[in-house]
C-alpha cells in the first residue's frame, strides 16, 4: 500500500493514470481444463461410441430428410447436411421392386436392375451438371442428394402399384395405378423444385426445372408400365 502511494505521488503530474512500476504482475495464464474441452473431445472421437449409436445417428438423419420430402417447404435442411444413403436406399428399393415383371421370362421387356441404377444416377448427375452450368449455386452432392431423396414418392407409388397388381391387372387397376403414379410424379417434381428453386438465377428457373420434370416422368413411366408376370 505504501509503495503504491509513493508511486502515485511520483506521477502526480499525470491526471488520471497512476502506473506503478513496483507492483509486479502476477497470475496464472494456463487455461483450466474444464468440462467444455472434454465435450469438444467427445464430439470428434466417434470411435469410442457403440456401433448402434453411429448407425442410429445416420438413420435419424436419413429419416428426418424423408420427412422433409413428405412435407416439402422451402427449407435448407436437405441442402445443409447432404448424404447419399437415402438416395442409394431408394434406388435399390425401386430397382428391386421393378424386378420380377414380365421381363423375366423374355429377354425383351422391363428394365434390368442395372438399367434402373444407370437411369437414376446418370440422370441425376446430368441434371446436376446442367444446373451448375446454368449458374446454379448449389453444390454437386447437394443436388444429387435432393434429387435422390425426391424419388421417395415414386418408390412409394411403385410399392402401391405392386400391391394393386396382386389384385389383378385389369382396367380398374390400371386406372388406379395411373392416378397414383401421376400424383406421386407431381409430388416428386414439386418437392425437388421447392428445394432446388432458390439456388438458380431468376431468368433460368424453367430451364432447370424442365430436366427434373423429364427425369421423374421417365421414372414414372417405368413404374406405370411395369406389368407382372402371368
Amino acid at each position: 500500500m505504501a509503495a503504491s502511494d509513493e508511486a502515485s505521488r511520483q506521477f502526480a503530474g499525470l491526471s488520471d493514470v497512476s502506473i506503478s512500476e513496483d507492483i509486479p504482475v502476477e497470475g496464472d495464464i494456463s487455461v483450466p481444463l474444464g468440462p467444455s474441452s472434454r465435450q469438444r473431445d467427445d464430439e470428434f472421437s466417434t470411435l469410442d461410441e457403440p456401433v448402434k449409436e453411429t448407425i442410429l445417428r445416420d438413420l435419424r438423419a436419413v429419416g428426418s430428410k424423408f420427412i422433409h420430402v413428405l412435407y416439402p417447404k422451402r427449407s435448407t435442411a436437405l441442402l445443409r447436411d447432404w448424404d447419399l444413403w437415402g438416395p442409394l436406399l431408394l434406388c435399390v428399393t425401386l430397382a428391386l421392386l421393378l424386378q420380377g415383371g414380365a421381363a423375366d421370362s423374355d429377354d425383351q421387356g422391363g428394365p434390368q436392375f442395372a438399367e434402373v441404377f444407370v437411369i437414376v444416377w446418370f440422370g441425376s448427375i446430368i441434371i446436376t451438371l446442367n444446373s451448375k452450368l446454368l449458374g446454379g449455386t448449389i453444390s454437386f452432392f447437394q443436388s444429387l442428394c435432393v434429387l435422390g431423396y425426391c424419388i421417395m414418392p415414386l418408390t412409394a407409388a411403385m410399392a402401391v402399384c405392386r400391391i394393386v397388381l396382386v389384385g389383378g391387372a385389369g382396367k380398374v387397376s390400371f386406372a388406379v395405378r395411373l392416378v397414383v403414379v401421376t400424383l406421386s410424379f407431381g409430388w416428386s417434381t414439386f418437392a425437388s423444385t421447392a428445394f432446388l428453386g432458390d439456388s438458380q438465377p431468376p431468368g433460368r428457373k424453367a430451364l432447370v426445372v424442365y430436366p427434373v420434370f423429364l427425369f421423374y416422368f421417365v421414372i414414372g413411366w417405368m413404374i406405370l408400365t411395369f406389368s407382372p408376370s402371368q
Binding site: G110, P111, E115, L133, L134, R204, Y210, L214, M222, F226
Partner: protein, 304 residues
C-alpha cells in the same frame, strides 16, 4: 497531401474516374455510373497529381474494366459454362423460330446472334429420344388393345437404339457438315462461315418440330402419320436449307447441290427410319373386322 514525383513511394490510389480527371483524354471504360465521378469531383475538389503515373493507370484500368473475358482452357468447367449463357425466353424464341421458318430469316443470324448454346440441342435430343421410345411403346399398346394374346412389354432397349440414332444425327452430321464447309471455305472465299457450335445448335433446334410429330404417331392411322411426317420434314428441312443457303451459295453449283441435297436427305432418312423402326406394328394390321363383315354382307346377297 504531398505530391509525389517519386514513383516508388507508396500511395493510395482512388477510383479510376478520379484518377483520370487529370487526363481527360485517356481511354478508359468505367463500369460504374458516369455521374459518380462527377459528384465526387465536386465534393472533394482536388485533382491528385498523377500525371507521371497516368498512362500506366489508364492501361490497367482499361484492361480490367473493358470486360474482356479470357477464354478458359478447354478442360475447365468455366469453358463450358459460356455455352449455357441463355435465359428461358431465349430458348423459347429459338424453339419457335425453328418450327416456323420465315423466308429470308436465317436462324443463325436472327436467333443465335453469336451466342450458340448447348442447352437446347442436348435437351431437345434427350426429349425426342424418350418421346420416341414411349410413343413407340404406346402405339404398339394401342394397336393391340384388347387382343388376348398380346403380352405388353415395355421394350426398354428401344431407348438405347433411339438415343444412338438421334444423338449421332444431331452431333455427327454437324461435324461432317462443318468439315465440308471448312474445306470449301479454303477453296472459295465465302462471305458466311459458321462455327461448329452454331451448326450443332441449328441441327439441335431443328429437331424440336419432331417432338409433337412423334406424339401424333401414337394414333395408328397411317394417313395421320404420313401427314405429320411430311409437315415436320418440310418445316425442319426448310429451316436447315435457309440457314445453310448463304454459306454455299457462292460455291460451284454441283457442290452446292450436293451439300443441300445431302442435308435434306439425311433429315428424311432420320424421320422415315425412326417411323418405320419404332412404329411398324409387328403383325400386319389386317383390315379391321368391319371390312370383313362388309365383304361378307356383299357376298351374302349374291349367294342367295
Amino acid at each position: 497531401m504531398a505530391s509525389t514525383n517519386d514513383p516508388f513511394q507508396f500511395q493510395e490510389f482512388e477510383e479510376a474516374g478520379n484518377l483520370l480527371d487529370a487526363n481527360r483524354d485517356a481511354t478508359t471504360i468505367s463500369i460504374e455510373d458516369d455521374d459518380m465521378p462527377e459528384k465526387q469531383r465536386k465534393a472533394t475538389g482536388f485533382t491528385p497529381d498523377v500525371d507521371d503515373l497516368d498512362p500506366l493507370a489508364s492501361d490497367d484500368t482499361t484492361e480490367l474494366l473493358s470486360g474482356q473475358k479470357k477464354s478458359a482452357p478447354i478442360w475447365t468447367f468455366e469453358y463450358y459454362q459460356k455455352f449455357f449463357d441463355i435465359e428461358t425466353h431465349h430458348v423459347k424464341e429459338r424453339i419457335i423460330g425453328s418450327m416456323l421458318p420465315w423466308p429470308g430469316k436465317n436462324f443463325i443470324h436472327v436467333h443465335l446472334r453469336r451466342n450458340p448454346d448447348l442447352y437446347g440441342p442436348f435437351w431437345i435430343c434427350t426429349t425426342l429420344v424418350f418421346a420416341l421410345a414411349i410413343s413407340g411403346n404406346l402405339s404398339n399398346f394401342v394397336v393391340f388393345l384388347g387382343k388376348p394374346n398380346y403380352k405388353y412389354t415395355p421394350q426398354f432397349q428401344k431407348v438405347t437404339i433411339a438415343a444412338t440414332a438421334i444423338f449421332s444425327y444431331a452431333w455427327l452430321v454437324p461435324l461432317g457438315l462443318w468439315g465440308v464447309l471448312l474445306w470449301r471455305n479454303n477453296k472459295i472465299m465465302n462471305l458466311v462461315s459458321y462455327s461448329f457450335l452454331e451448326i450443332t445448335c441449328v441441327y439441335g433446334y431443328s429437331l424440336a418440330i419432331y417432338i409433337p410429330a412423334v406424339v401424333l404417331w401414337i394414333f395408328p392411322y397411317e394417313w395421320l402419320r404420313w401427314c405429320s411426317i411430311v409437315v415436320a420434314l418440310c418445316l425442319s428441312g426448310s429451316v436447315l436449307v435457309m440457314t445453310f443457303w448463304p454459306a454455299v451459295r457462292e460455291d460451284h453449283p454441283k457442290v452446292m447441290i450436293a451439300i443441300m441435297s445431302s442435308i435434306v436427305l439425311l433429315n428424311v432418312l432420320l424421320a422415315v427410319g425412326c417411323k418405320s423402326y419404332f412404329f411398324s406394328n409387328p403383325e400386319v394390321v389386317v383390315p379391321p373386322t368391319g371390312n370383313l363383315t362388309a365383304t361378307a354382307l356383299i357376298k351374302a346377297p349374291s349367294a342367295t
